[in-house]
Amino acid sequence: MATTVLEPAHVSSYSKRNVLVEWLTTVDHKKVGILYGASAFVFFLIGGLEAEVIRLQLMKADNHLVSPEFYNQLFTMHGTTMIFLAIMPISAMFFNFFVPLLIGARDVAFPRLNAMSLWVFILGGLFLNVSLLLGSAPNGGWFGYAPLSSRQYAPGLNMDFWMFGLQILGIASLAAGVNFFTTILNMRAPGMTLMRMPMFVWSVLVTQMLVLLSFPVITVALILLTADRIFGASFFSYALPGGVTGGDPMLWQHLFWVFGHPEVYILILPAFGIISEILPVFSRKPLFGYSAMVFSMAFIAFLGFGVWSHHMFATGMGPLADSFFSLMTMLIAIPTGVKIFNWIGTIWGGSLQLKTPFYFSVGFIAMFIIGGLSGVMHAVAPADLQQTDTYFVVAHFHYVMFGGSIFALTAGAYYWWPKMFGRLLDEGLGKLHFWLMLIGFNLTFFPMHFAGLLGMPRRVYTYPSGLGFDGYNLASTVGAWILGFSFLVFLYNVIKTWRSDVHAPADPWGGATLEWSIPSPPPEWNFEVEPVVDEKDVLWAMKRRAGVHRLPEPKAGNGAGIHMPSPSWWPLITAVGILTFLVGMMFKPMWAFPFGPVSLAGLLLTAISIFKWSYQPVDHATSH
């Protein structure tokens, strides 16, 4: 212990490495989070650009800007990208960066597994997008309905990219699910009981339960699809050229939506968590009805596994199944309503601080209510039969996915930006971003309700004039470009404040949670001293006891003697192995069963790197 004044091992080990190596081998949850966010934002821009081209194509009747075939690729890639490569990983950025900070931990439970999730995600995302460059992007919809995804009707590589891309991304999600579930249950600071956890941490815990229980189902569905497409089975084809097989395309729909409906809660629950962090801070009031918020979220997640067939009313399941899934779906409105009233109750009578994160949060509540109401309309099976496959559905899910998730993630970005990067984003530009986004969003998606009720079908590349669709579509296209422009304002804001010399204080908003008690950005080891938690909103409690509104600025320590996980190449190499294994199946020679040489090489690489990984020491030898 006499040598604690020595420079800690990680500082010296990093100074010898170059920056690229440092980021490729990092296991620091904050760096992993930033990499998640940066790559997901690039994918988000690509997905957004796809949407803009879709809107240009639909701007006027009988338009031929893009071919029907390319249009199919556009809407498939737009949906797949936004769900798996944008909303989920941007949420993952917040999980990674903030869950350990919010629970008072120095890292996640398995830092190297965390890095592996990141690299598998990035490689999977790149793999999916490579298909665009090859001109054979997935074209069967983000749900890949059989037989649109079977070899017989989709002979190209298009749906192979989709199938293996999703399989790769699923591995990243499952590994992260195990990691964060363990982290939240087991790495909490002393005194941080479950019912003292910040609501965002609760939302991550519940989200990971959904991931853990729903992703294995899509994994199996994709395995069966792989069997059909690569190995010549007929799980989802009633007949093959050789004769009747008895395969059932409905099995795909059931397996897909048993995953797919929990998936939409995987997309929205983190948003609920972010809003539940922001509203109390900017209302200067604790979250209204904390335990009701926890239980309603758990109830939503539970019910989320019993509503999948409301995506399938049009398939003719019969009155009993239709009634059951209608009732279950309507039931979800109750816990969701509880949450909305509690958010309003949080703001009610508060001392409101009208900052940008607050604007986006209130925008979220309003937009999410509209999306929720049209969602309950879908629960009525007879009405849903009219709405299925029309733009009304498109309007609905964009109100919950964009008006809900993206508004909340943007709110979270403005709220947590100073902690992540040590810079406060500009308030004026932030509010401009908000108003442009709100106006652009509503101009894009509100008219789709009307176009949909008039009967405009989804996934069709054009429409004739004279059916009453023209005006609504023009409005949507104008709105989409305003929406796109609003994100340029955000980018400008980032660049402008990045260049300024103004550094953010540790606690710019008067926060209630532990991340605001440490410097911005936090040191690698997060907390100099492990925090002790004795009530909810722990930082407010500390300030109250000290009789101050702001705690003194924390001093940067040197982290001497703190065990930190060592950087490692194995997560990245394992991710490359997994990618090679799965992608190799696309290029399997006919004679090879089940795997060709590329897959075998990938499998070998994966096995070796996992083996090496498990014998690599976990953390630094420190100075004691």
């Binding site: 120095r106 439970a109 398995f110 499952l174 699910g177 195990v178 990691n179 579930f181 363990t182 249950l185 087991n186 790495m187 909490r188 002393p190 941080m192 853990l212 229980l213 729903s214 992703f215 294995p216 189902v217 994994t219 199996v220 569905a221 395995i223 069966l224 069997a227 190995f231 010549g232 089975a233 007929s234 799980f235 050789g242 004769g243 009747v244 097989t245 008895g246 395969g247 059932d248 099995l251 397996l255 048993v258 492990e530 065990h563 069963f593 083996f611 976990v618 953390d619």
Partner: protein
């Protein structure tokens, strides 16, 4: 501090970190993973049950299944679960001989089971049942093949631990390394306890 209290404390420590629940991170993680895997096998078993009567071409269950052979495999797998518990007990006691003996037996059982499956599958091929012959065959091979892969991975995992044990790298304080592998092994075993009646016995009874 009493010895009991010390034990209790060490149960909460992992790599110098405090854990919130009285369970090691890796043990909690393997339980979480097992929970997730339940849904994986549930989906595969459901698919098999839906398709087990779809064999318009080629043989069906009654033509191919060899229950005595599979019963032997089942017995071996069940016994291996007992063996790995004995091995873990040996590791916790620091009894090298006990650890090595029972762990070797466990690995042998794993190898026997995988070998049994390879033999069984080869026999099916000879009876004209390939992977794509009919949906019964496809869903049978997919389900039991993925279970077999799990057994093979578990066997490989236990074999590396056997190598560690041989080199004396599993002292009592590291018995957890074996314990998490054993948990996974038990799970794979439990899945087979469901597969055996549902796939073999119930298909024959119809």
């Amino acid at each position: 501090m009493t010895a009991a209290a010390l034990d209790h404390d060490s149960a909460h420590m992992h790599g110098g970190h405090h854990t919130s629940l009285p369970i090691d991170n890796r043990k909690l993680a393997i339980w979480t993973f097992i929970g997730s895997e339940c849904l994986f096998f549930a989906s595969l078993i459901t698919t098999f049950v839906i398709y087990r009567e779809q064999h318009p071409h080629g043989p069906g269950p009654k033509e191919v299944f060899e229950v005595p052979l599979v019963t032997a495999g089942t017995a071996v797998l069940l016994f291996s679960s007992f063996f790995v518990v004995m091995a873990l007990n040996g590791a916790q006691e620091g009894n090298r001989k006990k650890l090595l003996t029972w762990l070797s037996l466990t690995v042998l059982c794993g190898c026997f089971f995988v070998g049994m499956q390879v033999y069984e599958f080869t026999g099916f091929m000879h009876k004209g049942m390939g992977y794509t012959t009919n949906l019964f065959a496809s869903s049978f091979f997919t389900l039991t093949g993925f279970h077999g892969t799990h057994v093979a991975v578990g066997t490989l995992w236990l074999a590396t631990l056997l190598k560690d044990a041989w080199k004396g790298r599993i002292p009592p304080q590291k018995a957890l390394n074996l314990e998490i592998a054993a948990l996974y092994w038990h799970f794979v075993d439990v899945v087979w306890i469901i597969i055996f009646p549902v796939v073999y016995l119930m298909s024959l009874g119809r």
